[in-house]
């Protein structure tokens, strides 16, 4: 696999997760915590979680990062993406007392090695960078539905009411936004 250097000036968070996996590196963990815990807390607060629970969920997310570091596969997800999915699943578990199906999936370590397609073997940190730039270029109305869908623990029917636009419009804006985000990764994938 060709390794692509992370964007200039930003630490290689994927490498920090790997050094936790390889040698229980507490300094790497402290660096990850400093960067991600306050962002996870912010994300929980945006989703309507109260400040005490948001603080606890941010800590639980980071504890899972420590415990699951050996399951992190930098060929399948970037560091932010992986940590986002952990935070998401904990929010569902705590707030709704439900589970996300990905928590019911076998650990990659207990599965026979699923082949990663050659064209998927791209540096995921690069994928995240491209997505961020594509997000900043979305038309405001598409950016709004994407942000609402991710930040606020709301179903699309609630977004419909809040924005005062028909559900069909919410869905078509989402579809257009997703098409653009996928296109941003077009020559990567």
């Amino acid at each position: 696999m060709t390794k692509t250097a992370p964007p200039e000036g930003s630490p290689d968070y994927a490498a920090l997760i790997q050094s936790i996996a390889q040698r229980q590196d507490r300094q790497a963990f402290a660096d990850l915590f400093a960067h991600f815990a306050p962002r996870v807390k912010a994300w929980m607060l945006r989703g309507g979680v109260n400040p005490t629970a948001a603080e606890e969920l941010a800590q639980e997310t980071m504890l899972s990062v420590w415990r699951k570091a050996h399951l992190f596969d930098p060929e399948r997800a970037g560091a932010s993406t992986w940590i986002f999915t952990i935070a998401r699943n904990l929010r569902i578990d705590t707030v709704r007392r439900e589970r996300h199906p990905s928590d019911l999936m076998p650990d990659p370590s207990e599965e026979p090695d699923a082949p990663v397609q050659a064209d998927r073997m791209i540096a995921m940190s690069q994928q995240e960078t491209r997505i961020r730039s594509a997000l900043s270029l979305l038309p405001p109305e598409q950016s709004e539905v994407i942000r609402k869908a991710f930040f606020e623990d709301k179903v699309h029917a609630e977004i419909e009411k809040e924005l005062g636009i028909p559900l069909g419009t919410v869905k078509s804006r989402l579809r257009l936004a997703i098409t653009r985000l996928r296109a941003a990764l077009g020559d990567l994938a």
Binding site: F29, R39, R67, G78, E98, H100, I131, L135
Partner: protein, 203 residues
């Protein structure tokens, strides 16, 4: 080959974690079959990661890291056991009730999940129609084996039906094999015998 996919809105809700568990299990059953939707999901989860990265940080209490460091030697909870080895992941790890006969050639096995949506397995014999649904709220069906057909076309293993409006004609099992599906819905109550069973079972 997969013909029928979930909508982008459904995949976005799955990625964001806002799809109720029973509906998410139906979507996950499709994702297990469909590389195209897994690819879209990975874009959407990366979007979640990018949005997380761009959020203005909110500081935790000063001793948050120290308190966490004290807990890091505790072992991780064990993975959930496999309860239904005959079913594909993730359905093999969910708790299911018993099979209930809900009509001639139709059986229903409820998911024991709580939450905003309910669901279960439906097994229908060749030529039988699935019970009619009254669509209030979202409803999804994913075929696990066998096939059915309705006004939207033919649905075989991995295909996901997410009807937008009321179906006039109930889906009918086609081919010589029974059809096993995972279904889920919110707000909707089934009519007829399956509706009766649903009320008896309590969900």
């Amino acid at each position: 080959m997969i013909v029928h996919h979930p909508s982008e809105a459904t995949l976005a809700a799955y990625a964001a974690g806002t799809l109720p568990e029973a509906l998410a299990l139906v979507a996950a059953s499709h994702l297990g079959h469909c590389a195209t939707c897994r690819d879209t999901l990975s874009t959407l989860e990366a979007t979640g990661g990018a949005l997380l990265e761009d959020l203005p940080p909110v500081p935790l209490s000063i001793d948050a890291l120290d308190r966490l460091l004290g807990r890091m030697d505790q072992p991780a909870p064990p993975p959930l056991p496999i309860l239904n080895p005959e079913l594909p992941a993730p359905l093999n790890r969910v708790a299911l009730g018993r099979w209930w006969p809900v009509g001639l050639g139709i059986r229903y096995r409820p998911l024991k999940s709580s939450g905003a949506a309910w669901g279960g397995l439906v097994l229908a014999q060749p030529g039988r129609s699935f019970p009619r649904h009254g669509h209030k709220g979202r409803e999804m069906t994913c075929v696990l084996s066998g096939a059915f057909a309705d006004q939207d076309g033919k649905f075989a293993a991995g295909d996901l039906s997410e009807p937008a409006a009321d179906h006039d004609e109930p889906p009918v099992v086609i081919g010589a094999q029974p059809c096993l599906c995972i279904i889920a819905s919110e707000g909707m109550h089934l009519r007829g015998l399956l509706g009766w069973a649903q009320r008896m079972i309590g969900r």
